[in-house]
């Protein structure tokens, strides 16, 4: 049996944490792009689209992320595609992220008082002008704190990719545990690394929120 020193464990976990970060970035960038597309489509005024996106959001918010991962992994296999754990995790986490961000951003757009729409119309601005010069700048400012806050959920969500065999931080932890039988140390270290990734983002999100609040906008 190979002996693992504490440094070996830490080093292996940190190496695996790279994949947690990469997967988080994929999910966040992919999810934000898709979420933006859905947000725009929702605003387009097409009722059918609006209802469908609403259902999409409710389904992803109302089912376990673990199930979404299983369905992406095994479901695509049943459809005849051979999908790697990488692809399945990226797809599932992207869809999951897009649903939540789409919902967050809708809230931000709706938080801009309706009277501003009427006022802009009275001033002779059309829909796009109102959106661009009046609504979006305010909604964007509102959206930053919750969006940063949600990135923490994305990072934590990537831990579930371990269940379908994707070797990231959590999976590396369970593998090291099987080899060393030092579960307390290993899972404490795993938790600590996640904490080091997530806590700064949480703090930053709270700071942004407070600054927004102090600026008198809410």
């Amino acid at each position: 049996m190979i002996e693992f020193t504490l440094w070996d464990i830490v080093r292996n976990l940190l190496l695996a944490a790279r994949w947690t970060i990469v997967l988080s970035l994929i999910a966040f960038i992919g999810g934000a792009s898709l979420g933006l597309l859905f947000t725009v489509l929702r605003l387009s005024g097409n009722r059918l689209l609006k209802v469908m996106i609403g259902i999409y959001v409710d389904v992803f918010q109302g089912t376990p992320l673990l199930m979404q991962l299983f369905l992406a992994y095994f479901g695509t296999a049943a459809l005849g595609f051979n999908v790697s754990a990488w692809a399945a995790a990226s797809i599932a986490l992207t869809l999951f992220t897009s649903a939540f961000l789409c919902d967050i951003w809708r809230g931000c757009l709706e938080a801009v008082p309706r009277g501003q729409w009427h006022a802009s119309r009275v001033l002779g601005m059309d829909y796009l002008q109102t959106m661009r010069h009046v609504i979006l700048p305010q909604a964007l400012r509102l959206s930053v704190p919750p969006t940063v806050g949600f990135s923490v959920q994305v990072i934590k969500g990537t831990a579930l990719a371990s269940v379908i065999g994707f070797v990231e931080l959590t999976k590396a932890g369970t593998m090291l545990n099987n080899a060393t039988f030092a579960p307390f140390t290993i899972f404490a270290l795993v938790a600590l690394i996640y904490f080091a990734l997530c806590y700064p983002l949480s703090r930053y999100s709270r700071y942004l929120e407070r600054r927004l609040y102090d600026a008198g906008m809410r």
Binding site: P64, A78, K156, P183, V190, C198
Partner: protein, 225 residues
């Protein structure tokens, strides 16, 4: 290759599905109650206790909120026995879910408690209410009414998150799906069906919370968003 779905292949496993559903529901109900009780204690102490107590509780809340639930679960199930504390899977699941829900809820509740004006508590005391009475009626109940929508969402998130306890071999809904697909290889059907059950549970929970909230906080018109 075309996809042929065969949901009838799941019918021999109705018993396993029912068992999984019962476990998920029981886990959710019990941890919602225990998590809420713990959250009240934590939130109270985080507002009123000595600084060092607040620091420790702050550490617990932040650690829980900034690490994945699955890691918390593994830490409790695999890590604690290293200290000689041996617990079975269902106890570990119960413990992890309670601690998780309590950390989030305590933070939500604390905001609700701090929103109560000092004057209101003093007024209640002047009216002859005891310390406990005034705290309960003037601070706690209105705080709960204020945070009720957020609380509802948090409890649903914990229910959905409980799918992870299948990973330490608790026989919940997800475990049932894993079990079925390992027997009949109908993975897509099994996971799709179970996902649908989770969705129904989430919708049902939201309705139930709405109903209970209307009854509990009837005095606050328009208090529930």
């Amino acid at each position: 290759m075309g996809l042929t779905l065969d949901f009838l292949a799941l019918s021999p496993y109705a018993g396993e599905l029912a068992r999984g559903l019962v476990t998920t529901v029981v886990l959710t109900v019990v941890t919602t109650l225990s998590g809420l009780m713990l959250a009240i204690v934590v939130a109270y102490l985080k507002v009123h206790a000595a600084t060092w107590v607040r620091r420790i509780l702050g550490g617990y809340v932040e650690l829980t909120r900034n690490t994945p639930f699955i890691v918390q679960l593994f830490f409790i199930f695999f890590g604690l026995p290293a200290f000689g504390i041996k617990i079975d899977a269902i106890t570990a699941a119960f413990l992890a879910m309670t601690l998780n829900l309590a950390a989030y809820t305590a933070e939500i509740l604390r905001a609700g408690i701090e929103a109560t004006g000092r004057g209101q508590l003093e007024a209640a005391r002047t009216l002859g209410m005891s310390k406990l009475q005034s705290y309960r009626h003037v601070v706690l109940v209105p705080a709960f009414a204020r945070i009720y929508p957020a609380l509802t969402s948090q409890c649903i998130i914990v229910m959905l998150g409980s799918a992870v306890v299948s990973q330490i071999s608790v026989f919940d809904l997800t475990f049932a799906a894993n079990f079925i697909q390992s027997r009949n290889f109908r993975s897509f059907e099994a996971y799709l069906l179970v996902t649908l059950v989770y969705l129904l549970l989430a919708v049902g929970m939201r309705q139930l919370f709405l109903l209970v909230g209307r009854r509990l906080f009837a005095f606050r018109q328009g208090g529930l968003a």
